[in-house]
Amino acid sequence: MRKQNNLICLLVLWSLLPFCWQIYTSFSTPESILNPFTYQENRWTLQNYIQILSANPPFWRYLYNSLLVGLTSTAITILIATPAAYSLSKAKQHLSNTLKLLLLAAALFPYVLLFLSLLEIARAIGIANNLFALSIPYSALSMPLAVLLLNSAFSDLPNELEEAAIVEGLGLFQRIRWILIPLIAPAIASTSIIVFLFSWNEYPIALTWISDSKLITLTVAIARIAGSSVYSVPYGAYAAATVLGAIPLILIVLLFQKQIVSGLTQGAIKG
């Protein structure tokens, strides 16, 4: 029992300490940042937060941009993945297995390597530097996992259900919309959250597509702050930026922990 508690403490510390250190740094004055372990008279300050929130553009702008991209990508992904997953669940065993294998390969693919070609495509059709256009690659990149997750939810539903609906005279769209979607709502919820997290956290494509500093997403903004100078000492503003950037995610994890866990593990158990 004692040993178990110690291990749990260790796990919690390991997960939280790096982040706690950021919070601590973000509220420290420049002097106390330089000497974190010695006694200081005026140790705490809000100056770091004031600095990044009054910068041009203010920091909340990046959070807003990321939220916008996240929501549109999630909506597009679910809109396209749901019918595809349904169709896949009705396909012949052999075909559906082949397709699932291909989707798994696409999900495993290190997508970072696609950045150059995607940038060329974006420039060719003139959608670089457009915040909403980012949702297209984001939806495409989340598509394999989304289809696999939703497909396993559809496959779990009993066939009789749909047969009964057909007897009642419901068309394909009506069946999907009014019978099946309500039943797989939990799977849609967890898929949505995982897609949203992916778009919120995505970096290489956002980095190469968007150069207008008013349109960059949170991750790119953080990287720009990091890139401005590697050894510059007043680190307080960086820390404040990472704390503000992390808060929405901490809220998401606290609110949707169940959906995230089921989304991540569904694929593992059934796949």
């Binding site: 982040f19 250190w21 950045f115 956290n201 970096y203 991750t219």
Partner: protein, 287 residues
């Protein structure tokens, strides 16, 4: 089956996965750089010849492999321990599980910046603690010998929760009766772990391994922000090298060559790892 419903998804996937790969292969046989105003001009495989004698590419390949293997092995080991811990009953299990998940949910850019600050010399906490005890500075991120391991630690911190969750899901599928029956037969806890837990967890461990290895092999955000590839490009990954070639040196042709070469290496390494796992499995005689 209604193929029409599948069509939008397939078109999107083809546009984002299919076209780029074909384009890369094609570009890798062309010069497309500032010298040609980024217009592709065929060059009879000059990029590929250059790649084979490019020592920086091979150094990065070794570094990427070293990074991927070390982080994935550490992650699997830690994740198994975490999963076993979280599978037990204790007070506040839900909260602990949520906290464990946090590092995974944070954007890589944010946590890479945090870890860069932790390893900072001389103001980061690690260096400060060393100074407190009057020990010599170890200059973590600027020493070519250990900087790469610092990036491994940061990667392990971030991605272990993901594997732990998958393995935890696997643990929960193992019926409790199996362990009880095993105990009645006189088996101890360790041999129960070896004979029941590990073999039944195998598919989950394998899935986590495969998924993480592919991701770690493409590592980009973490390295770019934590070290920028330095010191002396000892932490530079292949994807970072491809990125630098494309957007800093503006050589799209050579960048594409590196990207295709990275695909090929990744497939070779994955097969190699797979064979290695099978070999070790037969050595440990775990079915």
């Amino acid at each position: 089956m209604y193929p029409i419903l599948l069509l939008p998804a397939l078109i999107l996937l083809f546009g984002v996965f299919g076209i780029p790969i074909v384009r890369y292969i094609w570009l890798s046989f062309h010069t497309s750089s500032v010298l040609t105003d980024l217009l592709p001009i065929p060059n009879n495989g000059a990029n590929w010849i250059r790649l084979f004698s490019d020592s920086r590419f091979w150094q990065d390949a070794i570094q990427t492999f070293r990074f991927a293997i070390s982080s994935v092995i550490l992650e699997i080991l830690i994740a198994i321990s975490i999963a076993i811990l979280l599978n037990q009953t204790f007070k506040n299990r839900g909260i602990v599980r949520t906290i464990t998940l946090l590092p995974w949910a944070l954007p890589t850019t944010i946590m890479a910046l945090s870890w860069r600050w932790i390893f900072n010399t001389p103001y980061g906490p690690i260096e400060q603690i060393l100074t407190l005890f009057h020990l010599n500075s170890i200059n973590i991120l600027s020493s070519p010998k250990i900087a790469w391991f610092a990036t491994v630690i940061a990667d392990v911190w971030k991605t272990t929760p993901f594997i732990a969750l998958i393995i935890l899901a696997g643990l929960q599928t193992i019926p409790e009766d199996l362990y009880e029956a095993f105990k009645l037969e006189g088996g101890n806890e360790f041999s129960a772990f070896q004979k029941i837990t590990l073999p039944l967890l195998q598919p989950y461990i394998f899935l986590g391994l495969l998924f993480r290895f592919a991701q770690a092999f493409g590592v980009f955000d973490l390295i770019q922000i934590m070290t920028g590839g330095g010191p002396a490009s000892t932490t530079e990954s292949l994807s970072l090298y491809a990125y630098l070639n494309a957007l800093r040196y503006l050589d799209f042709g050579y960048s594409s060559t590196i990207i295709i070469a990275t695909f090929i290496l990744m497939i070779i390494f994955s097969l190699f790892t797979w064979i290695l796992i099978r070999q070790t499995k037969s050595l440990l005689s775990i079915r």
